[in-house]
Amino acid sequence: MSLEWSSPAGPAALGLLAGPWRRSAVADGDPTEVFRARISDEGPPPLAADPLRTLITASSRLHAAFQPLAPGVVLARAEAELLRALAGDTAGPNLDVGPWLAELARRGTALARVETAFGRSPGVVTTISATGDMEMHMLAEAPAELLMVHRRAVAAALHTRATLLRAALTTAELAALIAAVTGPAAAAVALPLAWRFLHTLLAEANQSPGD
């Protein structure tokens, strides 16, 4: 099975967030997110670690970073980098990630279409609304293998959408926490700091064996 996605979320995030998708051409003027699958001998690209768990636990990691450190305890990389940046020991990120993250959230809830090809034509097509309603069109007497591929493609597409939305929301939450804890001075850089923190956590999870 091969999988393509018309609108990768962004150069830095895709490798960590998207899972098994390859980038596909973006259809001009079509706001729909298109996920394409086809039966293929070629295996999918290596699967990134599922980031959902990291996203769900990110705020507790951030909370912990601001707690007094017990003697002998060493901070993990993400927490240490964050505290160093807040202390002014390193230059904070100046990347304006706000619009890009907002776009991430939009993509997580945009209209989506999952197409599974049967030869050169679509064999099964499922459209997914912002709130998850589905409409599936399938070719009469579509082979079972095609249906199986489509089923997996829809699952992967839904998971990707949920992850994108969760990533945007988590970043907002982390930014709010950083700014609330550190005060006005950090408000301006809270968002990029939050994204950097989350990005490091995701990279860390991606490198963990067994994920």
Binding site: I56, A105, L169, A172, A180, P184
Partner: protein, 701 residues
Amino acid sequence: MDSTSPLYFNGINASTGEYLFPPSSAEALVREVTGQGPLDDPEQDNHLAELRDRFESATTVHFGAKMGIDVNDLAQTGWAVVFPAVRPDTDAARRQDAIAEALMPLLDLRRTQATAQDERFFKIYRGIDGFGGRREENKQRYLAHLGAGPGPADPIKVPYYLLLVGSPEELPYSLQFQLDVQYAVGRLHFDTVEEYAQYARSVVAAETGGLQLARELAMFGVANADDPATQLSARNLVAPLADILTPLVPDWKIRRYEGAQATKANLARILGGDATPALVFTASHGAGFSRGDPLQRAHQGALMCQDWPGPAAWRGPISPDFYFAGEDLRPEARPHGLIMFNFACYGAGTPLYNDYGQRSGAKTREQIADAAFLAALPQRLLAHPGGGALATIGHVERAWGTSFVWRGSGKRTGSTAQLAVFESTIRSLLGGLPVGAALEFFNERYAELASDLSQELEEINFGRKFNAVELADMWTANNDARAYAIIGDPAVRLPLAPVGGAPRPAQTLVLRAATAGPAEPPVQAQAQAQAATVAAAPAEAKAQATVAAAPAEAQAPAPATGDTASTRAPAPGETFGLLARLRGLGGAGEPGPFQLFTEGLLHTVAKTLTDLGNLEVRTFVARDMQVALSDPRHPSAGSELRAFTRVSLGGDLESCVPAGGDGVDAAVWALHVDMVKQAQAHRAELLRALLEATTHLTKPG
């Protein structure tokens, strides 16, 4: 003590002023017990066999859920709500829809907690999965329908924490008792839909709003003059229990209200007044009323206080001044977060029939109420508009002294008091265990006693001579242990301040429409409540609904009225509490990246929440996909609709397939079902992500 010594029950008939149940001798009781043994009743026989199995397999770490499951963690135990089955398109169905909607904030919270690892660990049993939908349904048949048999709770099949939502007429007390053997079961039933909503808000606010109660336990032990029952419970239950607990829980302040201190006025201070603790334990008579007495529904199970002069000094009907009933709970009371444990007859509720009479061999059972009902005091406490209690534990039917004294056990120690079950339960509650899991000690005791009793009765049926006193004790203790019931969500736990930390009320928010015009009464809600309310509101209202944070100092449990935040339309960038404060941190002037991002994100969240409604999945089959997909405005052209499923917000599922012909193709149907499951899981994840983010963003920093 011999077989003619009297047994006392904790109940006063407030209609007459007499004991609700006259003291009975062990011999008399045994005659009733053996008049018709439980083994004559096949259903009871099955239940006893299950109890015996449970007792024999129980270990000290066994709490009903299967081995390896941490009952503290809903992600491991699962959580489910059980509704009665109702006929579609009836008033009962519409009312149940409204109740499910009112409970949505609680259901969403539990869904989030229970599905952290596995989507299957959260269930809403309604519709065809509601209780009573099948002929002569009982607990075993119902569990079998849900996919579970007897034995430890396996959350993949049926979650461990079960919240019954319905009256004891719809979901019988016997179902609650029997499920409680292996599951942690609680019940909600209120007269109005708003009370359900209020309870849901209280629990959500307690668990997500930062409510922290002081570590205080109130022990309230009535000892009325000339009254052996309350003197026994004061002397052998309340006082020694307080003595035992004091050194065991040094971080807790134990306030003792014993004898002369156990007055109605002091109980009012404890239940939401200036002396409200985290946990209240009471032992007293419960007020009972004759069937047909107009006060029965409102006052039965009310807690008799020290104000009653006792049976010798007082003759005639009991004055309401002597007991604390639901209506004695004042509007200004603040019982938010409280858990109460009552040892009193009918403290939790009243069954339809006298359970005692059921065993007497009589042809008909004595009806003691027009319908089974919950006691009003727990109902009022849980649904209190100022923030309700989280749960109460009480007795359905009569409470017995054998609950805490055991004949013949005092020869070595000098005391017949047996308090390990009470002590263990209370310590579990103080330690923060969910109330349903904490009550497992009583369920273990019930299993043990029922196992012993069934064995004994079996032997007696085969002609063995019996000791009347021992048998009577086993019987009464068995009944007593069975009848403890939780009113409230069994997964709630005491929201406690850290050791040495100061208590603090829950942070609350004001939800209102952003349109100008006359101010609507503000509704206190937590983030989940907001989302559910927004989702449930009419489309026009939903599009305008926003959430505004009340100022920190106004975020007390008291209903917020007329504060600034609730009477003006918030600007787009200040819709969320913490984020609103951050906007202020950024300073005045042009919106920065943070605000731009926030506005974009909030727009997405608000739009998605606004659009949430029934989930629909349609499956079409086409001969030519190019034709079928050629017109994006009419994507179904050239296709034939072969399956349609609609899932309501409450979880009801409705599927349609073509009638006649060849019916629906198996492969199409399998794919359709799979799509429905994926859509449901995705909807749950979507909702969870939105609600968690909303919750966290609206928390104070």
